[in-house]
């Protein structure tokens, strides 16, 4: 029975192919746009989270409770006595969701070359570990990454290099307050220059070996400020951070912060975009609703006589409602399939080749992350499904009014209508 209803509904649709096609095209177009929008948005989010976390932050950071956000030199993990770094690292990487962990020391001071200088943040790290947590080593434009063979080597951003006029091979002076109250001051050789597109990093970050920075800061080897942690899945960060903090807290007072807490602007930006896509969905739904309602009203009016005959022959009002709704369902379903069909190659293209805006813009720093002008889309099937179900539900609801009107027809009057 129900199959017959769908069959009849489908046939009814094509009694006026022009009208059906135009309405279907409107739904298809709206849905295709929602799909492309969702795809680009997901791509943007993933890109922003990836760039925002992989250039410096990492997915999670383990600190002494008082360290963040002031980053005082003295608030090392385990307090002034320091801690067994290797054991701490082992405890962190014991969690299967953790991909890598990298111990870090920070210093804040001036980098000078000849007669120019600039304020910088100095990050001391172990090259092998740091490369698993952040991607600075993939953004080198000159020279190479830190190596243990050159203990006095530093890697700096391109904007900083421009500002102080230094190139690879140049010897820069780093000047910063040390833990013993003196001013640390030493010469370092630039071994590499990176360009990330993130203004703050390119202009203000100096990367050097953990041990070299500890020496400059007069910190003992077991005193570190932070452990940067990379996860297999960035979206789990908040949950993993809470679990890790509870587990590590049994042996050492620590705070574990996930990226949404470390980069609140980034997290808000991501959520803001979700709300924008919801507004867009609402608008498309309203327009689809108006179009479908119009179409189905017309369909019911021109079939008044036919419906009257059907009801006179014993078709119950519920069945009339059912057939109108089935017709709407077919119309919307076909529209969604058509929209999906139009969008599919574009979605694939966005994922594979990206939207190339390079001739219009460069990299943009937004909310503490970088937006690349070559904008890749990412498939967000959940959003595609939600949009389809939402649109279909709205459309079928909008056909409720024409359907009820049809069911309320009085066969005796309807039958006489031309």
């Amino acid at each position: 029975m129900s199959r017959r209803i769908v069959q009849i509904a489908w046939r009814n649709l094509w009694r006026n192919p022009r009208r059906t096609l135009v309405t279907m095209a409107a739904i298809a177009l709206g849905y295709a746009m929602l799909l492309l929008f969702a795809c680009l948005l997901e791509g943007l989010q993933q890109q922003m989270i990836k760039n925002g976390t992989s250039l410096g932050l990492s997915h999670m950071q383990v600190h002494a409770p008082a360290y963040y956000p002031d980053r005082s030199l003295y608030d090392t993990l385990g307090g002034r006595g320091g801690t067994d770094v290797d054991r701490l690292l082992a405890a962190i990487t014991a969690d299967r969701r953790v991909r890598a962990a990298s111990p870090r020391v920070y210093g804040y001071g001036l980098a000078g070359y000849e007669d120019r200088s600039a304020g910088v943040e100095i990050l001391g790290a172990l090259p092998a570990q740091e490369q698993q947590v952040t991607t600075l080593h993939t953004h080198l434009v000159a020279g190479h990454y830190l190596t243990a063979q050159i203990p006095q080597g530093v890697v700096i951003g391109d904007k900083l290099a421009d500002a102080i006029g230094a190139r690879v091979g140049a010897e820069v002076v780093l000047l910063l307050p040390a833990a013993d109250g003196s001013m640390g001051n030493d010469l370092y050789t630039i071994v590499g220059i990176f360009h990330t597109g993130l203004e703050a990093v390119d202009r203000g970050l100096v990367l050097m070996l953990l041990s070299a920075l500890q020496q400059l800061l007069s910190l003992a080897p077991d005193r570190i400020h932070e452990i940067g942690v990379a996860l297999a899945d960035a979206t789990e960060a908040t949950a993993v951070a809470a679990a890790l903090e509870a587990r590590l807290g049994e042996v050492l007072p620590v705070r574990v912060r996930a990226w949404p807490e470390l980069a609140p602007h980034l997290a808000e930006y991501v959520r803001l975009h979700r709300s924008i896509s919801f507004v867009l969905f609402t608008v498309v739904s309203v327009l689809a609703l108006l179009g479908v309602m119009n179409t189905m009203l017309m369909a019911v009016f021109e079939r008044t006589r036919e419906l009257g005959v059907l009801m006179a022959l014993g078709v119950r009002p519920v069945q009339v409602v059912g057939s109108i709704l089935a017709e709407t369902g077919c119309l919307v379903g076909a529209g969604l399939v058509l929209g999906g069909g139009i969008a599919a190659p574009l979605l694939w293209y966005l994922q594979a080749h990206g939207l190339d805006l390079r001739s219009f813009m460069g990299e943009i720093s937004v909310a503490g992350s970088v937006v690349d002008p070559l904008w890749y889309g990412r498939q967000d099937f959940l959003a595609y499904g939600q949009a389809a179900v939402g649109l279909a539900a709205t459309a079928v609801l909008s056909a409720g009014y024409p359907a009820v009107r049809a069911a309320r027809l009085r066969p005796t009057e309807a039958i006489r209508k031309v």
Binding site: R19, G30, S117, R271, L272, G291
Partner: protein
């Protein structure tokens, strides 16, 4: 055409032969136009807000600085005082009257600021306090103490985040260390070139802008203090020019370039000095146009459907009209009249709805917190309340676009009506 008025009257009646359909179509058109107006207003409004903030925190609408400074930010690229006075002369002359809001000569440097407990890298801005009061956002965002005054030569104003990090309060002492700039012509006489210089300063004011890059890194000092520290008497890094209208930026920049030809300077408008922001706006606007374009096509298809169906179901009627002597041109004219009236009616409603919402948002703002729960305090990150702005040109443009679309869409049904083949049409009834 003799029957012109009659066609309009008949067209109007025809529209109301099926009031429900007409109203639904009108509603779609109305919503389409209103959306266009609202989204344009909100986007331009939010951009204006961001421009205003960016300009007030940055280098103004137009900035004059030594050539190459924008790219390198090299501390030793300085402007001689002659350029500063030339800029001031031009802008304070009659040509600048009514256009100019203020001029701020600034000397920028980076340094290390240390307190008894901690230290931090800072962006040093040497300013003329009286000039900054009217142009910069920072004097307006003082939360403790007061902004710099010319009378207190060794005061420093810093961001709240920086003050917290250094654990200082009003009256605390801090030490600023920076490197003196090279002076090619005065190197031997000055002796200070390239050396580290320190100065003891007292905190006189603390500001909070809500933007971490300022609150945690920016300090304002009196200009002479920084000039002494850097060994660069009478020199500044840039002259920030603030205008009454952001729209005058290009013109003022052009005038300044003419006046300063031959001098090694760069004159940049905010679009050039805040490139990332300008590009982000471009992206926003491009997205808005694409989205609105697609939505309008959706609306357009609905309109096409209505008019086309109205024409097709009146096949017989058109046949009769043609038989009693209505010419094809008049038939087409009647259909066009119908769609023009439909468009006129819905666009009026759409304009009312769109402008109504726009005026509401212009007065009270659209608070993004309605849609998404923002955990950060309001002053952080960005202002979540957007105020709508629309120019008469934008309104006219939006109405024009939707109107043209409706007219173009009704051409096909009108032609179809005009081509009614008499015998077939009469038989079909």
């Amino acid at each position: 055409m003799a029957g012109g008025w009659l066609l309009v009257k008949v067209g109007w009646r025809n529209l109301w032969r099926n009031p429900r359909r007409t109203l639904l179509t009108a509603l779609a058109l109305c919503v389409g136009l209103a959306l266009l107006l609202i989204s344009l207003g909100l986007i331009y409004g939010s951009h204006e807000q961001k421009i205003a903030n960016g300009v007030q925190l940055g280098a103004g609408h137009v900035v004059v600085q030594a050539r190459g400074y924008q790219d390198t930010r090299a501390q030793d690229l300085l402007l001689p005082s002659s350029v500063v006075s030339a800029t001031e002369d031009l802008l304070r002359s009659r040509a600048g009257a009514g256009v100019l809001r203020g001029i701020g000569p600034r000397l920028l440097a980076s340094g290390l600021l240390s307190s008894a407990t901690n230290s931090s890298g800072v962006d040093v801005v040497g300013v003329i306090p009286a000039a900054e009061e009217s142009i910069s956002l920072i004097p307006q965002r003082i939360v403790e103490g007061s902004y710099l005054q010319d009378a207190k030569p060794s005061g420093v104003v810093m961001g709240a985040e920086l003050a917290r990090k250094l654990a200082v309060r009003l009256g605390s002492k801090v030490v600023l260390t920076t490197q003196a700039v090279r002076q090619p012509d005065a190197q031997t006489a000055d002796g200070a070139a390239g050396e580290m210089q320190s100065a003891l300063l007292r905190v006189t004011g603390i500001f909070r802008t809500g933007l971490r890059e300022f609150d945690a890194y920016t300090i304002h000092l009196p200009l002479p203090e920084v000039q002494t520290l850097l060994g660069a008497p009478d020199q500044v890094t840039q002259v920030a020019v603030f205008l009454a209208q952001a729209g005058d930026s290009s013109l003022v920049a052009m005038r300044l370039r003419e006046r300063l030809t031959g001098v090694p300077v760069e004159v940049l408008t905010w679009r050039e000095s805040l490139t990332e922001m300008a590009q982000l706006f471009w992206l926003n606007e491009a997205f808005n146009y694409v989205t609105n374009g697609v939505l309008l096509v959706m609306v357009g298809l609905g309109v096409l459907n209505t008019i086309l169906m109205a024409v097709l179901e009146r096949h017989h009627e058109f046949g009769v009209c043609a038989a009693v002597g209505l010419r094809p041109g008049q038939l087409a004219g009647m259909i066009l009249c119908e769609s023009l009236m439909l468009a006129g009616m819905s666009l009026t409603l759409g304009l009312l709805l769109g402008l109504g919402v726009h005026l509401y948002f212009a007065a009270f703002g659209l608070d993004l917190r309605w849609f998404v729960e923002l955990n950060l305090p309001v002053w952080k990150a960005f202002d979540p309340v957007f105020y709508s702005r629309l120019s008469p040109g934008q309104i006219a443009w939006s109405v024009g676009v939707v109107f043209m679309m409706t007219v173009l869409l009704s051409l096909y049904p009108a032609l179809k009506a005009a081509r009614t083949a008499l015998p077939d049409a009469l038989k079909a009834g």
